[in-house]
Every structure is written in structure tokens, then in C-alpha cells.
């Protein structure tokens, strides 16, 4: 059963070191920290971190973000962890848990960008059965095509695509996410589509309470930070 879920964007710039001397977007980091704090406060016996990646896989629970992949000069990973690093969303999620002081059990699950909806929903259902009180940290965001300067340039379909995500997070009804358009998501660089569908599979009923902590697109990518109460 899901005790609570938090949604945070898997944007590399969440890692403070990567933006250089300028914190650039401290309010986004604060929102993520607040969402994770609420997740931890729900008292989960295990937290599952979920995010999209090149393949569907379980990663070592001690896996951490490979900063060096984004900023070779920071060169931190090699010294600490010579093993394979989890995909960016999981690395960022693990980092958020660390920063939030969470020391309990954790599971890091990646889900392939190309995983069909049914597989994503099934994975979500499986995760919800990890225990009586499962915390879910979903590292997902929306399109990257919301402005002329966006990574994917402006696409007029992006606003509606992202609005559906925000509506689901705000209202707690994740049902519409089960039918997300995979092709459209790909065209809008919404690489987190599979992660959203895992969330939908894990929380099939309407969440009894939700809170949106951040919803904006400062760089043309739609970031949503949200907390959802579970039914456990």
C-alpha cells in the first residue's frame, strides 16, 4: 500500500553544484526538499525511487548520482563509487532522500523510456506491494517544449500535455495518466512518461489529499513538485 508519494523533476540542475556559483533556482530545490520531507514524515517502511531510464532495472540501494557525467571537473563519483551509477532520475532521487536525512530502506527502480503502459502500470502495482506502508518518490516532469528557448523548441501541444499532468497531481486522480500518448510524449521530450505511468499503476484510486509545491517552466521544461497522500 502506498503511504504517500512525492513527485520531483529529474532535472540535473537540482544538484546545486552543477549550476556553478549561481544557485539559479533555489525555490525548486526547496520545493523538492519539502515534498521529500513530507514523504518521510508519512513514516514509510521503505521508499521506492522511480524514474525513467534506458532500461527497466533495479539498482543497488546505495547507488548515487554520477555528477561527473554532467560536470567532469567535479569528478566526485570516481573517488566514492567505482560501480555503475543509476540513471539520472534515480541518482537525483537518492540524493533528495540523503539530503532529507532519510536513512531507512530504499529501492531504486528505473523503467525504460519505451516501456509500454501496461508494463509501467504493473510495475507500479508491484511497488505498492513492497510493504504495508510504501513511500514513492517519482522523479518525473513534463514536456521540454514550452518556449522558443526550451531544449525542444516551442511545440504548441506542450501546454495541454503538461496541463493534464498538473491536473492529475492537483486533483489526485491519476487515472488519465494510464492512457498517456507515448508517441506525443516522445516528441515533446517528456522523457518521464513511463515514470508517470508507474505512479498511476501504484495509486489506482484517487489520492485523498494532494499539495502542489511548485509548478512552473523557467527553462521551457515543465516542472511539477507535488505531494500525494496514499491510502495506506
Amino acid at each position: 500500500m502506498i503511504a504517500a508519494a512525492a513527485i520531483c523533476p529529474p532535472a540535473p540542475l537540482l544538484a546545486r553544484e552543477l549550476t556553478g556559483l549561481d544557485p539559479v533556482i533555489p525555490e525548486l530545490r526547496q520545493a523538492c526538499a519539502a515534498a521529500v520531507e513530507r514523504l518521510v514524515r508519512a513514516g514509510p517502511e521503505v521508499i521506492a525511487v522511480v524514474g525513467s531510464g534506458h532500461r527497466t532495472s533495479t539498482w543497488p540501494a546505495d547507488g548515487r548520482l554520477n555528477l561527473a557525467a554532467f560536470a567532469p571537473a567535479l569528478g566526485i563519483r570516481a573517488a566514492l563509487d567505482p560501480g555503475p551509477s543509476p540513471p539520472l532520475p534515480l541518482g537525483l532521487g537518492a540524493r533528495l532522500l540523503d539530503e532529507g536525512g532519510y536513512r531507512g530502506p530504499r529501492v531504486l527502480r528505473s523503467v525504460s523510456h519505451d516501456a509500454p503502459a501496461a508494463a509501467c502500470l504493473r510495475l507500479g502495482a508491484d511497488l505498492s506491494c513492497l510493504g504495508d506502508r510504501v513511500g514513492l518518490l517519482v522523479m518525473a516532469d513534463g514536456s521540454a517544449c514550452r518556449s522558443l528557448r526550451a531544449p525542444g523548441y516551442l511545440d504548441s501541444r506542450a501546454a495541454a500535455f503538461d496541463a493534464a499532468l498538473e491536473r492529475a497531481g492537483r486533483g489526485g486522480d491519476l487515472g488519465p495518466l494510464r492512457a498517456m500518448d507515448q508517441g506525443l510524449a516522445r516528441e515533446l521530450l517528456a522523457t518521464a512518461r513511463s515514470g508517470w505511468q508507474v505512479l498511476a499503476g501504484a495509486m489506482p484510486g484517487r489520492a485523498p489529499a494532494t499539495e502542489i509545491l511548485y509548478a512552473d517552466d523557467p527553462f521551457g521544461v515543465f516542472y511539477l513538485v507535488a505531494w500525494l497522500a496514499g491510502s495506506a
Binding site: A11, P12, L13, E17, L18, T19, G20, L21, D22, V24, F70, A71, A73, G75, A144, P151, P218, F219, G220, V221
Partner: protein, 298 residues
């Protein structure tokens, strides 16, 4: 290559005034001339008010050190010790009063004036003339000041190179500057306040200055902090066939190469541009993060 000096250790902190600068920091030393006839500014700060205005400007632009001098490097009318003191000592005192924490360097090669300048508040004696006055280390030691040990190829002060030749110019630079550094420490100068400087153009033709730039890493490898003073100098003008007003690009290019090779203090006329070059090189070397990185990270 000459073996590293006994006195220096690679990567040690440089101390100036009360501050300590790590090997990853690159400092801008802004030139403030109290002369009517220096080659580049041609007396622009001969007037004391203009000189103080220049200090305000360079401090605002982020200079880490100001270098105040009263005697031009080029030959010309004699500047006696008394005249040098008249030009510089009250001014150093005024700068010290205005900026209690600012690192003040003095471009001076005679122990009498250097002593007066340190008493007025200078922190570093920038001896461009290669230790020609053997009593400079005593003065630095007694005042707790630092000392720049430069290479002028044995030329007397305020003389130009004439048919100078070296078997190996960098070997000569290392031999002389390291001997000066060791002498300074032996006479009581705090080793963390000693720098070495190849002194571009001093006792060198253009080929020699290009060579010491190319091989600056050999100086850096000695462990002593390396200062370079290349701003608008003749070797840049000759290399680019550029007049005195056309040497900024060459100056900045040379500064970038020196920074890449590990120089730590850059004596400069243009603080803002030099600061940008050093910050850029520091970021490329991985010593300084970008000011703001978002591209590709959203």
C-alpha cells in the same frame, strides 16, 4: 630543467598582508603609476587625485593587489631616491588609509625607498630589477613584507637589453630567480611571501620572452608562486606588429597561456578584462565553477 628549489613547495599558499591565497587562485595586480612618463599610461596618474581615482576604479573592478611605482622601467631622466619617495610614500599611505585591507605592492628596487614604502603600508616589494640592490631582502624581512624575485638577466636598473644571449634563457631565469628566492628566505623573508617572476622584456629580446612564456611551467614546477607582468610589453608589440595602443589582445592571450601554465599573479593595466581571462582559464582548468550553468541541465 633545473631541479626544484629547496625553499618552495608546489601548491602552497601565498600570503599577502593578512590574506592567504591558494594555488588555485589567480590574482590581478593592478598597475598604478606615479610617474609622468611610463610607457603605457604616459602620466595618466601622475596627478595624485587621478592616481587615487585609478585605485578606486581598479578596486571596484576586482583587483586583488595594487602595484604602485614611482620610477619608470625605461631609461630616462634620473629619479632619485628622494624623488621616488616624494612620489610614492605619501600616496601609499593615503591608499592604506582608504583601504585598510587592500594588498599593496610597490614597484621599487632600492632598499631606501622600499623601506619607506613598507613603513607607509606596503605589503609586497615588487623588485623588477632582479635583486640589483642586495639589501632589499633585509627591508622586506624587517617589515614582514613579501618580495618578488625577478629575472633581469643581470642588467642594471633602467637599462635596455642589447644583444643579450643565453645558452638557455629559462635555465638562466630559474637559476637567478631561485637563488634570489633562497637568498630572501635566508635573510628572513617569510617563504610564503616570496614570488618569482620571469620579467618579460627585462634583459630579453622578443624570442626570449616568448620562450619563457612557453616554458613557464618550469617555473611553476619549482613550487614558488609565479608572477607575470606582460601587459602591453614590447615582445607583444613585436610579435603582433602592434603599436602601443594595439596590444590588449596579445596581452590577454599571453595572460591566458600563463594562467593555463600555472602563474598565480598577473600584473595588468586592464583589470576587468584580465579578471575575465583568469576566471575563464580557471574554469577550464577546473579550479573555478562557471558563474551560472543551466545549458543542457534543465
Amino acid at each position: 630543467m633545473i631541479p626544484p628549489a629547496s625553499g618552495g613547495q608546489e601548491g602552497t599558499a601565498l600570503r599577502l598582508r593578512e590574506r592567504s591565497f591558494g594555488p588555485e587562485q589567480r590574482l590581478v595586480m593592478a598597475i598604478v603609476n606615479r610617474t609622468p612618463d611610463s610607457f603605457y599610461d604616459r602620466g595618466a596618474t601622475w596627478d595624485e587625485a587621478a592616481a587615487m581615482e585609478r585605485v578606486h576604479t581598479v578596486v571596484g573592478e576586482g583587483a586583488d593587489i595594487v602595484d604602485i611605482g614611482g620610477v619608470p622601467a625605461a631609461p630616462g631622466a634620473e629619479v632619485t631616491v628622494a624623488e621616488e619617495i616624494r612620489r610614492t610614500v605619501p600616496f601609499v599611505a593615503a591608499v592604506r588609509a582608504a583601504y585598510p585591507d587592500l594588498v599593496i605592492s610597490v614597484d621599487a628596487y632600492r632598499h631606501q625607498s622600499a623601506g619607506e614604502l613598507c613603513a607607509a603600508g606596503a605589503d609586497l616589494i615588487n623588485d623588477t630589477w632582479g635583486g640589483w640592490d642586495e639589501r632589499l631582502p633585509e627591508v622586506a624581512a624587517s617589515c614582514g613584507a613579501g618580495l618578488v624575485c625577478s629575472h633581469a638577466g643581470g642588467l642594471p636598473p633602467r637599462t635596455r637589453p642589447f644583444r643579450v644571449e643565453y645558452g638557455d634563457v629559462m635555465a638562466d631565469v630559474l637559476e637567478r630567480t631561485l637563488a634570489l628566492a633562497d637568498r630572501a628566505v635566508a635573510r628572513g623573508v617569510d617563504p610564503s611571501r616570496v614570488l618569482i617572476d620571469p620579467a618579460h622584456d627585462f634583459g630579453k629580446n622578443t624570442w626570449h620572452s616568448l620562450e619563457v612564456t612557453r616554458r613557464l611551467g618550469e617555473m611553476v614546477a619549482t613550487g614558488w608562486p609565479v608572477l607575470v607582468s606582460v601587459s602591453h610589453k614590447d615582445f607583444i608589440g613585436e610579435t603582433l606588429n602592434a603599436g602601443r595602443e594595439e596590444r590588449l589582445t596579445g596581452t590577454l592571450a599571453t595572460s591566458a597561456v600563463c594562467a593555463w601554465l600555472g602563474a598565480r599573479v598577473f600584473r595588468a593595466h586592464q583589470v576587468t578584462q584580465t579578471r575575465q581571462v583568469l576566471d575563464m582559464v580557471s574554469a577550464i582548468r577546473g579550479d573555478r565553477p562557471p558563474a551560472r550553468a543551466v545549458r543542457g541541465l534543465a
